[in-house]
């Protein structure tokens, strides 16, 4: 009897803490049953290929032929290649674009927030690149930025020839140029998302702060940013993950990974290894490494805010106890 009471008391608390119960009824609840097809689909199109590729990364995989088990050989070969580390360095370099990809649309969205004429039209204009395929945008910019192409020719025409550069063929320039192009392509979506988040912040907070004498930057830093922080974090995470997942079309169309390996990303490298060279096992190993990198980055985005919150609450608790 005592045990039952204790269980009844502790049970809900345990459930609340874990947020999940292994109760059989809740496993087979109607909502979960409805989710089952999606779950099966997810397993079939995502987890199974993932397991499949992971298994194949330990083989000298030859589709349609004998594929001998090679253990970690594909991985050791990969890590022993200078080309692989160059690609990893490229990937890290593209991370430098993230602050720009976050701050620029955030600032524009903030500035468009109030009393700007034709704000809707401007948002639409900013959004246009987002509805265009990166492949098409890439093709357009490949022509525009070609050596002696229209941009260089225009610079020459207006007496700024010294600014004409081999934008896509100079190893030092190509990555910054791609960062700017990705900014151009994703800018509108960022503006739209931040605008929506800012619109959800009650206006009277801004008005009250203005009465207290807050200026543009104070409002942005003290009110707007903390109010939409989860959106900023989410957008930042998308941008970081996009470097690992969605750069392929830009690279494929703009530079084909060149000059040399200067602009090659991991996803493009996997494609080359698999499709161009036919090293299926090596490409599988590379895919697994890419997947691990993505998981680590995603975990970082979950863990760091959690740790920060945890540390802040402990500090606040300590202060309260001190008082």
């Amino acid at each position: 009897m005592t045990a039952n009471v204790a269980e009844r008391v502790a049970g809900p608390a345990r459930r609340r803490r874990s947020g999940f119960s292994l109760n059989r009824d809740s496993i087979l609840s109607p909502s979960l049953v409805l989710l089952l097809p999606l779950l099966v689909l997810e397993v079939a199109v995502f987890f199974l290929p993932l397991i499949f590729i992971t298994v194949k990364s330990f083989y000298n995989w030859q589709p349609g032929a004998v594929s001998p088990f090679v253990g970690f050989s594909n991985y050791s070969t990969l890590f022993g290649q200078a080309a692989f580390w160059q690609v990893v360095r490229n990937q890290l370099f593209y991370l430098l674009g993230v602050p720009l990809w976050v701050v620029a649309p955030l600032l524009i969205a903030y500035m468009l927030r109030e009393h700007v004429r034709f704000a809707g039209v401007l948002r639409t204009i900013y959004f246009i690149p987002a509805v265009m395929s990166p492949a098409i945008v890439g093709l357009v910019f490949r022509s525009l930025l070609a050596n002696n192409g229209p941009i260089d020719a225009s610079l020459q025409q207006i007496g700024l020839g010294f600014l004409a550069k081999p934008w896509l063929t100079d190893a030092a320039l190509v990555k910054p140029v791609i960062i700017m192009l990705v900014l151009w392509g994703g800018f509108g979506t960022g503006v739209l998302i931040f605008s929506a988040a800012l619109n959800a912040v009650p206006q009277d907070i801004f008005e009250a702060s203005r009465l207290d004498g807050a200026g543009f930057w104070t409002e942005l830093w003290r009110i707007a940013l903390p109010s939409i922080w989860p959106t900023v974090l989410l957008w930042t995470m998308f941008q970081v993950l996009s470097i690992f997942l969605f750069m392929f079309s830009w690279i494929f169309v703009l530079t084909n990974g060149g000059p040399g390996l200067a602009s090659t990303t991991m996803d493009f490298s996997v494609y080359q290894t698999f499709i161009t060279f036919g090293f299926f096992g090596a490409a599988a190993a590379q895919s697994v490494v890419l997947m691990i990198m993505i998981i680590l980055v995603a975990l970082l985005f979950v863990l760091v805010p959690w740790l920060v919150r945890h540390a802040l609450s402990r500090t606040a608790g300590a202060r309260a106890a001190g008082q």
Partner: protein, 438 residues
């Protein structure tokens, strides 16, 4: 209804079993299909449709007509076979072949380069060395160059290309250079480059961005340095790309660069060989251009009427006096998954035979690679080119360059030429790629 579902574990169990079954199917070992070992006999009389994938019809302005005529001729010979020739643009062609090879389904016959490229697709191609009809076997040229390192011939080579130099005689005259003397030896060739530069004329049309210019020169020079025994070893994958022969060819290209043969290097780094450098020559801005086929030569004659075609001088390490890098224009293979092996073999043999090659020459001007078929040039390009190709010592090592090595050449050509990459780093990266391909 939900109550029933809730009480049943069937959906979960079913999902789990399905997943495991899928996984087992996906990870299950696959065995190599048996390859044919000889001629498969006559084409059965049953009506069938043969699917052929190729990029060749799209390679020439009237290529579609040429290959339609070839197909018609084949269908006339084998009325029970209908050929469905699918033209796939070159930029996406090899990806589609790769997809088909992995999926084990697709065309019965494909266009494919021989040697290393065919080896890369070996899981989808049936060896052809024993499937050649006797008359083809006796007369087909460049067969040895197209073997893969595993000792199999995965394609039958067809057509002929040959790398040579288009020469703008007017610009030679303007720089007071006699083309015959200038291209007689390697030192005189480099001297001519210097003389052109002194006259403000770019000697050779060049573009390094796509890396093909480097590759092309590498083929031309290394082929000169390969005698028959060396070529056989190279085709067999026994010679590494850091061997003296390839290092020497790399240095020869850099020597050309040092002599000013490629003009303003900074400008050429952002140009492709195809078609940027061609356009330089067509515009009359350069004294020479590297080209590999008659149709480009013919276009050159139209743009620069004072053109001539000459050999690249033999490099210092050459084993010959008058060789040009020359080989099969393309090749054709039979897929392992075809259900019509006899018809597929018959079509590939037909493509390699005199009737098809004559049609191709007449329509698009690609010379045949058959000893028993001689063709006469009818235009300036053909008349100038055919004598260079008609040289029994011509061969190529091009087919044996592994794709990984070519990728390294392509991406490192510009850094090498611009001086930002040393020969040793260049060679070492190529060698790493070579080892990866072994």
């Amino acid at each position: 209804m939900f109550r029933n579902i809730r009480r049943s574990r069937a959906p979960l169990a079913l999902a789990a079993i399905s997943c495991l079954a899928l996984l087992a199917a996906a990870c299950g070992g696959s065995s190599a299909p048996a390859s044919k070992t000889g001629l498969l006999g006559p084409v059965p009389k049953t009506k069938v449709t043969l699917t052929v994938w190729s990029f060749m019809p799209g390679e020439y302005s009237n290529g579609s007509t040429a290959y339609t005529d070839v197909v018609s001729a084949f269908e006339a010979k084998y009325p029970q076979v209908t050929v469905n020739l699918v033209n796939i643009p070159y930029p996406t062609y090899f990806q589609k072949i790769r997809d088909a090879t992995i999926a084990r389904t697709g065309p019965d016959v494909i266009t494919m380069y021989g040697g290393a490229q065919a080896y890369s697709y070996r899981n989808g191609l049936d060896p052809m060395q024993n499937a050649m009809q006797p008359s083809i076997k006796a007369n087909l040229r460049f067969v040895q160059d197209n073997y893969s390192k595993d000792g199999n011939l995965y394609i039958l080579p067809t057509g002929t290309y040959g790398y040579a130099l288009m020469v703008n005689k007017s610009l030679f005259a303007r720089a007071h250079i006699d083309p015959v003397t200038a291209l007689a030896s390697w030192p005189s060739f480099l001297a001519a480059c210097r003389q052109f530069s002194a006259h403000g004329i770019q000697p050779i049309a060049s573009g390094w961005k796509d890396g093909y210019m480097f590759e092309t020169l590498m083929y031309m020079m290394s082929s000169e340095m390969m005698d028959s025994a060396t070529l056989a070893k190279w085709v067999g994958g026994k010679i590494p790309v850091n061997s003296p022969m390839f290092v020497s060819a790399t240095n020869d290209i850099l020597a050309m660069n040092k002599a000013g043969c490629f003009g303003n290097v900074a400008a050429s780094l952002g140009r492709n060989m195809y078609d940027d450098s061609f356009n330089q020559y067509f515009a009359g801005k350069t004294a020479m251009m590297v080209t590999g086929n008659i149709s480009t030569a013919e276009t050159s004659f139209q743009h620069v009427p004072s053109s001539a075609i000459m050999r690249l001088p033999q490099v210092p390490g050459s084993k010959y006096t008058n060789l040009i890098d020359s080989g099969a224009e393309t090749g054709w293979g039979v897929t392992k998954w075809t259900k019509l092996p006899q018809a597929a073999d018959a079509f590939v043999n037909f493509l390699a035979g005199p009737q098809a090659q004559q049609i191709i020459f007449n329509t698009v001007g690609v010379p045949p690679n058959l000893k028993n078929l001689t063709v006469q040039g009818t235009n300036a390009g053909q008349k100038a080119y055919l004598p260079l190709l008609d040289n029994p010592v011509n061969h190529t090592g091009f087919e044996a360059f592994p794709l990984t090595v070519l990728a390294v050449y392509e991406r490192n050509a510009a850094p090498l030429i611009s001086g930002s990459m040393s020969v040793s780093t260049f060679t070492s990266q190529a060698q790493t790629a070579f080892q990866q391909s072994q």
